[in-house]
Symmetry: C2
Amino acid sequence: MARIVMKFGGTSMAGTERIRRVAGIVRRQQEAGHEVAVVVSAMSGETDRLVNFCREANALYDPAEYDVVVASGEQVTSGLLALTLQSIGAKARSWLGWQLPIRTDDAHAKARIEAIDTDEILASMARGEIAVIPGFQGLTADNRITTLGRGGSDTSAVAVAAALKADRCDIYTDVDGVYTTDPRIVAKARKLKNVTYEEMLELASVGSKVLQTRSVSLAMKEKVRVQVLSSFIDENAPAADTLPGTMIVSDEELEGLDMERQLITGIAADKNDAKVILTAVPDRPGAVSSIFGPLAAANINVDMIIQNVGRADTDTDVTFTVPAADLDRTVAVLEENRETIRYEKLSTDPKVAKISVVGVGMRSHAGVAAMMFKALADRGINIQAISTSEIKVSVLIDSDETELAVRLLHTAYGLDG
Amino acid sequence: MARIVMKFGGTSMAGTERIRRVAGIVRRQQEAGHEVAVVVSAMSGETDRLVNFCREANALYDPAEYDVVVASGEQVTSGLLALTLQSIGAKARSWLGWQLPIRTDDAHAKARIEAIDTDEILASMARGEIAVIPGFQGLTADNRITTLGRGGSDTSAVAVAAALKADRCDIYTDVDGVYTTDPRIVAKARKLKNVTYEEMLELASVGSKVLQTRSVSLAMKEKVRVQVLSSFIDENAPAADTLPGTMIVSDEELEGLDMERQLITGIAADKNDAKVILTAVPDRPGAVSSIFGPLAAANINVDMIIQNVGRADTDTDVTFTVPAADLDRTVAVLEENRETIRYEKLSTDPKVAKISVVGVGMRSHAGVAAMMFKALADRGINIQAISTSEIKVSVLIDSDETELAVRLLHTAYGLDG
């Protein structure tokens, strides 16, 4: 017997017909002899509907009341899944965020989970009841509802799995695993049997939308075994532990599982950044901090940075990327601080894409970056910026060349299936 | 300064535009110098949508999980009203049923309020915050959500007013008060300035849909001053204590207010009953209890009963009414018990209406019933059954004659405006 946490997203919960499919999948896990807890999202579209109500009510909404409104979507699907499980003969009950409770800090609309009380729910699961838990929601110390931010249900599932000391956390999505790259771009993309936490983290942060970054960090920190699976499986398929999804594992576990692993695990593309160029900034001590200090104070997340020598010996050009959603605010902050930064010209380019190759294998292999630069140069793709981490190399290119770059790198690193 | 509880129904809360009107009405009450708590229903149509989800999920639904689902409708409108009040410069916060808490018994889907904790909310109101409370919902001793049954928000409002020792409970509806009869039937119907709890109770139970019966009983028991008002008033109208609605008061208060009151307060019609006739039941001790015992055990509410002498000296015919919604179950129970009741024939008639004249004035006046019977007989309307209370006379007639009967009684008792 194992203890398993299952998580279903909004597409899987969209309407009572689909919830019935989910109930079947959950029921089979229990019938395979496991203790089961299920974390659910709101019906797809519902959170958007509720957020729109809040915006119409008050453009500058109080996040505490916003949380009261938007948390209701997961409350509804929790009750409905419990009812549906009962209708097929399972014992089930819902446990709302405030009932467990899932304790969070008081950062409404983007709260962080601090602790989950488990005595009651474990006793219920030991009695054979399936625990149904709404994702995305929690409770502050002063008894108010919080939500974890969009997509927070993955994080809820991992946190519940950690608190329950679950053997596995199965995340059911509308894809059936993690691929070497987006299969919509590269037809030859292959599903990965295993991927490490760190690789998943890099993939999630550079545009692979399978799992929320926060949930992967939490899984890594709490050593939760996470499996990504498709919820659109045949209802009569075997229980999930025999289905082919992607298992997210630690480095050590991966070595045991997959000795002959490729150098590179996957290739991701992210079009959500924009480029900012400050021309002819005086090259003096403190110049860089005069730029990035005010941006950090405005809570704008700067990613890639390059500093070129400018036209005069005493000048430098500074190029960096920010989330495209923050571009207007970025420009405003820089213009406000023009006097102290003393740049000659400010220009922006939202038409950029960040292409990343990711893999724990590259730690011990030189030449991964060189292969990337050569492959792109051979096809005349201009690299506008570069950043690297221990298991990732990213380049910034013109967004029109995204698909071409992903395809040729997928082939260059031998990932084509 | 007064402390006022305001309640708005689903029609008033249907969408952010209407919620904005409600916020304006609430804000003006506060600006008139009062402490204000607001009880809200779900958006009209929303509870039906949620109930349908539950039925689709599980025809024999677990009422505890049903409550989790349907309570979400009021949670949404509470948060939205708090947000909207904040947007027009008021301080406001929502207090969900489990947050106050509103403590109920554990009869899920039809719970009864037992107590309401008020320390926190009173402190909040004293700080100038408008308290927004979802109607219809509460919390059991073991920390689960309950709902009070359809239309329960009126009861929530009266219970909150009693707990807060409010000076008044204003119920905003889609009519602007209580009328002598349904204005859609009788154009000359007049709005009543005052009505007693007992009259309101009789009117509510015989088809005047202005207030839920339970809420009126509770108001009478807890001596809560209830006012019925329209929510479709001009946004720039004065605060509610100067608006003409209908005030529900005690007998004693009424005497002070309205010495020259009419004998009869109002006339109500109710088409929700059905008639059942059992022919040739042996006239023996225990005959009647053999009929009504099993019906009571099946939780079927029998209203008017008449027992005629039957065709043989030893037989009797028994006629009674039950809610039309329970007619099929009633027939099933009677057929199951045919052996013990020993009736010859069972027939039913759903095409009946109960017409009632109501008024505290009739206590001290003979002849109210006689006037009613004569007025109906003069127009050839056949009376099928009669029941009376201290302040009400009801007759059962063919439902086709409902409008005619109401109109001619309205004139006969001098109620035409």
